[in-house]
């Protein structure tokens, strides 16, 4: 594993590009600054795919990614072996020129990162920038329109730039044409600020940010004095510096490699929003575009949940959490449950994770997801293959076996257990909702209280319908049955299965209307009959 910071990013980028180009697949993971935007937006068993997307979207726009890990797995031909090159990026949002990102932190989420030794100083001091396309356009405009540049600079930049300008002005007073000066680059000031501001102030010199520490200026001949406008090459250079991790994202998209995550719905939404474009309003648009960006997506949480019933006799799938699966599959039993399991190793240069586990460091989590993918793929590919004819498999064969799982992304605590980005979502297999009614007028229902009562039987979510009725969504059939039994003869509560045609307000009002209408018709019939009689 390599830790990638703003100060080392440019140097490592070519290595990352080479890895991505040649790899078999890429596993990802992200860490972020908040789990839910507020208490109302919590995940609920009532959510379908679209409802969950809308909840997460608002949240993801507000919080930010503090760390992203990518673990790049490459098959070593004829050795039945994969090698992983893992990169752990600290990210920090941009505050340069026209863009000054505001993001929300949730206290408990930062405390969670603490539990896993997250370094907040690396995050803020040396986090790599990134832009989505909307922000990139702002920079393009700002580079074309010098007015905006000065307006948005922060105070610190202004002070440092003033010092730099003064030095250049003094030098320029006596410099001859084609003289150059090499100056120390003020720490913390972006290439963006240097190019745009010095260009504006000193049209008669050429400027070049030599490396991370120096700026070189040359006094130009009268004839060569360039316009205040930056040329395209300079613009690109400046933008590259600000695009940061977005360039890695674009490499991942460009090379169309399989992308692996574990329970990665939020990771994917973060990647979309922060490095690509603002998340669209429509769920369908998100799914379609995500599928175009990453046509070969696999969620190992979904795959393992799906395989669990078939492997009941082993203990491999007892817990489908990332760490538990990794531990199960890297145990002897997990590795040799089928013949010719490929070995997985860290490639030479990436030794940080060799002898220790660093759970919830994004790079390590990404590596575990990729490792699990290899094991799952091999398990699936070998299903039904007799041990007499078994041979080691290639990545191609592994991939073919996993094709049925492409585009299925796990969702937690919802009415469905996964969504499909390739087409319509599956239908729910959760039990029907329960209907809770208060038997007594003096006993209004309270969601927190109901949750407390029912959660002893399993995971539940409560949706109040007025004062004396509530819907309860239940995680599984056993839990529903247990609740129905336990509350059969409760003093204050009546609990029944919710039947849409009987219980929904719409159905009820239809029923009432038709009852009244048919009643009316009857009355009319009686009346007109009696009239005839009379």
């Amino acid at each position: 594993m390599v830790e990638v910071l703003k100060s080392s990013f440019e140097g490592i980028l070519p290595v990352i590009e080479a890895c991505i180009k040649d790899c078999s697949f890429i596993a990802i993971d992200t860490e972020f600054t908040g789990l839910s935007s507020n208490e109302l937006n919590k995940n609920s068993l009532f959510d379908d795919g679209a409802a969950r997307y809308i909840k997460q979207k608002d949240h993801i726009k507000q919080v930010t990614v503090s760390q992203i890990g990518i673990s790049i797995f490459t098959e070593v031909p004829k050795e039945n072996r994969y090698e992983a090159s893992t990169f752990n990026f600290f990210l920090f949002p941009v505050s340069i020129g026209p863009v000054d990102v505001r993001f929300t932190c949730q206290s408990s989420s930062l405390r969670f990162l603490c539990q896993h030794n997250f370094d907040f100083n690396k995050f803020v001091y040396d986090g790599i920038p990134y832009l989505n396309e909307e922000q990139e356009i702002l920079f393009h405009q700002a580079l074309d329109d010098s007015l905006m540049v000065f307006e948005s600079e922060n105070n610190f930049d202004r002070r440092e730039m003033k010092l730099l300008s003064t030095t250049i002005a003094e030098w320029l007073a006596t410099a001859k044409e084609e003289d150059t000066i090499r100056l120390e680059k003020p720490a913390g000031v972006s290439d963006y600020s240097i190019y745009t501001q010095l260009r504006q102030t000193f049209p008669g010199i050429s400027i070049c940010c030599k490396d991370d520490t120096h700026v070189e200026c040359q006094k130009l001949e009268e004839s060569k004095r360039i316009s205040k406008q930056l040329d395209e090459q300079e613009k690109e250079r400046i933008l590259d510096g600000i695009l940061g991790f977005t360039r890695v994202f674009r490499l991942m998209v460009k090379h169309r490699k399989p992308l692996i995550g574990h329970n990665c719905m939020m990771d994917l939404m973060f990647i979309y929003e922060k490095f690509y474009r603002p998340l669209p309003d429509k769920y369908a648009d998100f799914k379609r575009t995500l599928n175009e960006l990453f046509p070969f997506l696999i969620d190992t949480k979904h795959v393992s949940s799906h395989l669990r019933p078939q492997f009941k006799e082993t203990e491999l799938f007892n817990n489908t959490g990332l760490m538990n699966l990794y531990q199960a599959f890297s145990s002897k039993e997990g590795m040799y449950i089928v013949l010719f399991s490929p070995s997985v190793s860290h490639s030479h240069a990436y030794t940080r994770y060799k002898n220790k586990s660093m759970i919830h460091e994004a790079g390590y989590d990404a590596y575990m997801a990729g490792y699990i993918f290899v094991r799952l793929a091999h398990l699936v590919a070998m299903q039904g293959v007799s041990s007499l004819v078994a041979t080691p498999l290639t990545h191609r064969q592994h991939w073919v076996a996993m094709k049925p799982y492409i585009g299925a992304i796990n969702v937690i605590r919802a009415s469905i257990n996964h969504i499909s980005i390739e087409g319509p979502d599956p239908v729910s297999v959760r039990p029907e909702w329960l209907l809770v009614q208060s038997k007594k007028r003096a006993y209004p229902l309270k969601p927190l209280q109901l949750e407390g009562m029912f959660s002893a039987y399993g995971s539940v979510d409560v949706l109040l319908q007025g004062n004396r009725e509530a819907l309860v969504a239940v995680g599984n059939h056993r839990c529903a049955k247990d609740i129905l039994t336990a509350f059969k003869s409760h003093n204050c509560l009546r609990v029944t299965k919710y039947v849409a045609w009987k219980h929904s307000p719409v159905a009820r009002s239809l029923l009432w209307t038709s009852a009244l209408m048919s009643g009316g018709v009857c009355a009319w019939l009686v009346w007109s009959a009696s009239k005839k009689d009379s």
Copy 2:
């Protein structure tokens, strides 16, 4: 100076209390995670006190205080000397039980903190908690109502607590009555979690968090088994641990010492919102309550701005920024501009700031504000005192001299330069607004463009009124005059002084109405006259 962290807070609190009790005055400063909630909410020369309050209020509710400094100044009797004990607190909002604070960070504000070597790991890992009264009530309720306790615990706590519970259960299986066990306290888990959860799970034992690292449990005799409810003393103990810095705030209020800040409008609002109560909707309520909390408030930025014209011949007040004033007043000239200037020193135990300046560390900034207060107070007190009769002054005499400044808080970039928390705000002394009109239909006005054009003459803010009119608020009279001269014969723009009775939409419509009405009256008169004639 002492740096105060969560881990050292309880130990230092008694020292702080003793200092506050005996001091002459307290100076404060805060650092926070964001400067403005969004671009629209930026400070503007159009703002009066109430408008500024409303803008800041929404912002302050969203961001958080990362550091607060209090510098406690005590007069040393008969030595013409003040001694300062300075405490620099790292703060971090609570995520325990029912409270999980979300706060906004502004990328540029965190980068600003970076420039001053802020340690973000101390902030998150070891920041002291704090509660306002609204949050404290939530905890009181949660402690009474065990239902809420479990519901809101975060995942990490749950895991660690499970391990602890298991250990206790195993011990309890064989323990005799009155046996005790001493267990390691899981790092990062609050006393709150330990008391509430263990009490609920094991009603038969007594629990005591011995120190920061251990929990002691005792198996109780049958007769002594206490109820699941916590007693008042235990509740208070738990709450004290969560109240954190709020306890220091309450000491400051209780002892009614003079409070000094420099340009401290935002500091005061932060203190109100985070340690006292949510900021009220009404500006008047905020002022009244703040005045009750801190009846002896002085803002050294306001005092020095006010003194500047009288001390034109010295260079002391050239720049009324905190650091500039401090440098000016700690120079030889600044110290001896009047006779018997008291000396100011750090008290023995607080050596961190002795030989270095640490600008924008809250503790150091607080110290500088207090230092400036001493110099200003002495300057004001000695005004008009002949050097023949001058003697050293007591703090009491200094304070009497400063009384006229009590309750006046500086505001930057607004229509007024300070507000008064003791009564109505002063009236604006800024120049009249300018009215900009586009001469050509094809030339709609753009605020950014106008700002760009006018800001060359001084600080301006632009407020668009439809497509072809804009109001411009100007910082000072010279700037207004320069703009009027420069744009006298502009191609596209007409710039005039704004005259309310002529230019405001209301005035205009009144004018039109009265014109039409008087026209109507005339017409009627003419008509009726003509009728008579006929």
